[in-house]
């Protein structure tokens, strides 16, 4: 298989006495969806925040396309092509889709002091990008607040892809969504993967992971419990690894099925 775009080697992160990450290794290759699974408190958020430049690892190495890097800020990570879509902080509901899409990277035209936000071009690009993602807008000035949760995630993903992300980190994109919206977002992930972008899909829902994942890494208590390829592992096994085994198995048998 191709070489990884991003490789995280033996990442450790301590917050004072708390060991949040205790040796996590993880990599993403172009065109794959690598699922990072873990229960609450497993260290998923700390890990992706390290990957997206919010935290600096206490030890361990981060390698992008063969070169070791250190990120000082989220901006550095963005510059290196790592885009993160946060669950609820992706969009500003009161602003239009176009204004959200270009936020922070507004196209300009004209000569100072008449330089202005090129709204016409921005609107055209937004409409066509949204169409590609399967979202039909009433108009480029439609407020993001009128979109569903799944559509908002999709707009955020489309934005990251349009601005040249090589790796897309999705922080629990489906956890607050209904069945149909989840299907839409998973469809979007599949579409993005086919464009050669490496997707890191963080979730604690094994079924969502199984639907689109190529590889699966399970995080438990700040450590990786290994990486499995699609076909080598089944949902029940992943579930067990996430929960740390025994108790959940007992609970499941008493409830009569996979949780």
């Amino acid at each position: 298989m191709t070489t990884p775009i991003v490789e995280m080697r033996d990442i450790r992160k301590h917050f004072g006495h708390v060991i949040a990450l205790n040796g996590v290794s993880f990599d993403v290759r172009p065109g794959e969806c690598h699922c990072l699974l873990g229960d609450n408190g497993a260290g998923k958020s700390t890990f992706i925040k390290t990957m997206s430049g919010v935290h600096r690892p206490s030890s361990g190495q981060m390698v992008i396309e063969g070169k070791p890097v250190t990120f000082e800020s989220p901006r550095d990570a963005m510059g290196a092509g790592i885009a993160t879509v946060y669950q609820d902080l992706a969009m500003i509901p009161l602003m239009s889709v176009t204004r959200n899409f270009w936020m922070g990277r507004e196209p300009e035209k004209g000569i100072w002091p008449f330089r202005n936000f090129d709204l016409k071009m921005a609107a055209e690009v937004t409409m066509s990008e949204m169409k590609k993602m399967g979202i039909n807008l009433r108009g480029p000035d439609q407020a993001v607040g009128t979109l569903s949760g799944g559509e908002r995630q999709t707009v955020a993903i489309a934005r990251a892809v349009y601005f040249g992300a090589k790796v897309l980190i999705l922080d629990e994109p489906t956890s607050a969504l209904g069945v149909r919206q989840t299907a839409n977002v998973l469809g979007t992930i599949d579409r993005v993967r086919k464009q050669g972008i490496g997707v890191v899909f963080i979730t604690h829902n094994v079924r969502h992971a199984m639907a689109v994942g190529d590889r699966f890494t399970v995080l438990n208590r700040g450590q990786t419990l290994g990486t499995a390829t699609k076909g080598d592992v089944d949902a029940a096994r992943l579930q067990d690894m996430m929960a740390g085994g025994q108790e959940l198995a007992e609970l499941e048998s008493s409830l009569g099925g996979t949780i």
Binding site: I92, M95, M103, E106, N116, A143
Partner: protein, 372 residues
């Protein structure tokens, strides 16, 4: 949109009627309100001279004063913050200007320029404190409301032993900058209109034959200039998008690289700038500064902005709306006077319209964000 395309959208999203579409424009309330107050006062004060040249000039000047501070308050509110120190800043900047020029003997233009720089730095301090401490701007600027007012009275008494500093008119004579704030334009045009009998002229006294309205005060020019520039900045520039973003959700904006702190601090500085424009025009026009000027102006500015459709929580609003709010404010305040109504009723009206505007805005916000 074709039928095929609309079939692909979520069938539960109802098509939006033109009425609802118009409703989510922030200016709508302002436009309706403006039409309403003109109809109202046309009916009850139409024959009082309110709509003759002099009357029009009267309420236009008052509206323009509100407009100047409303533009600053509007952009700041959209960026997610308040400035309660605007009124104190008006008193403070006027007094600083007068002490420097009359008492210290600076040329007026130098005093004006220094005051602008100094007051904008105080605005920046306001903004810096809000951004760094993470405290609500309500509290930080409330502190400055008292600090600046106190300093103004203390400084005025300390330097001149009085709270009203006169003598600015003499300093304004021959000054190149003073007319930019206190002068009038189009005087020739108004004289010509007077000569043609299109507007009233004085019939007696030393100014007999001259038009009662002899030009457009620079105050009005400043107001219109600030409204137009503020509107263009907000809706047509990159920075304007950042203003919306900073007020809409500061953290989401930071994640995509918007310099939220810089935006907020600049807007605090702009608010201070607008207050200083207001104060300078007043000082040059009256020829004096007074320590108690600008009392309650911060709230009046906020009311104009809210009537104009901006949300108190930030991220949504319009400069044009705020300007219309200022017109409503000015017309009603002066109109009640022309209509010989009890002037204290003005406050009743103000409270009522504020309440209606806020309720309307909250409803509109629900429509935009699809909350239930």
């Amino acid at each position: 949109m074709t039928d095929a395309a609309s079939a692909a959208t979520d069938e539960r999203v109802k098509t939006v009627s033109p009425w609802r579409r118009a409703l989510i424009r922030p200016e709508l309330g302002g436009i309706c309100g403006t039409i309403l107050v003109f109809l109202l006062f046309g009916a009850i004060a139409g024959d009082s001279g309110m709509f003759k040249a002099e009357g029009i000039m009267n309420w236009t000047v008052v509206s323009a004063q509100f407009m100047i501070i409303a533009v600053g308050a509007c952009l700041l509110m959209i960026a997610g913050e308040f400035d309660l120190s605007t009124g104190s800043m008006i008193g403070f900047s006027g007094t600083v200007m007068a002490i420097l020029s009359v008492h210290m003997g600076w040329p007026l233009w130098a005093a004006i320029l220094f005051t602008f720089v100094f007051c904008m730095l105080i605005g920046a301090l306001n903004g810096w404190l809000v951004v760094k401490t993470g405290l609500p701007s309500f509290i930080v600027t409330l502190a400055f409301l008292f600090i600046l007012r106190g300093l103004t009275i203390w400084g005025s008494v300390y330097f001149t032993r009085q709270t009203i500093i006169g003598g600015v008119a003499e300093k304004a004579q021959g000054d190149w900058l003073a007319p930019v704030f206190g002068g009038k334009i189009l005087t020739g045009f108004f004289t010509w209109m007077g000569e043609n009998g299109w507007i009233a002229t004085f019939t007696r006294g030393s100014r007999a034959g001259q038009p009662v309205v002899d030009g457009i005060p620079m105050l009005i020019v400043w107001a219109l200039l600030l409204v137009v520039l503020g509107h263009l900045l907000l809706t047509r520039t990159k920075f304007g998008n950042w203003i919306f973003a900073a007020g809409g959700d500061a953290q989401a904006a930071r994640y995509v690289g918007v310099p939220v702190n810089r935006v907020k601090i600049s807007m605090f500085m702009f608010s201070a700038f607008c207050a200083t424009v207001f104060a300078t025009a007043q000082v040059v026009e009256f020829g004096s500064a007074a320590a108690d000027r600008g009392m309650l102006k911060e709230f009046e500015a906020i009311i104009c902005v809210v009537i104009g459709g901006a949300l108190l929580t930030g991220g949504y609003g319009s400069v044009i709306g705020a300007a219309l709010g200022a017109v409503i404010f000015g017309v009603v305040q002066q109109g009640l006077f022309f209509a010989n109504a009890e002037s204290s009723l003005f406050r009743v009206f103000l409270g009522a319209i504020l309440l209606i505007a806020v309720i309307m805005n909250t409803y509109i916000r629900r429509i935009i964000t699809g909350e239930r």
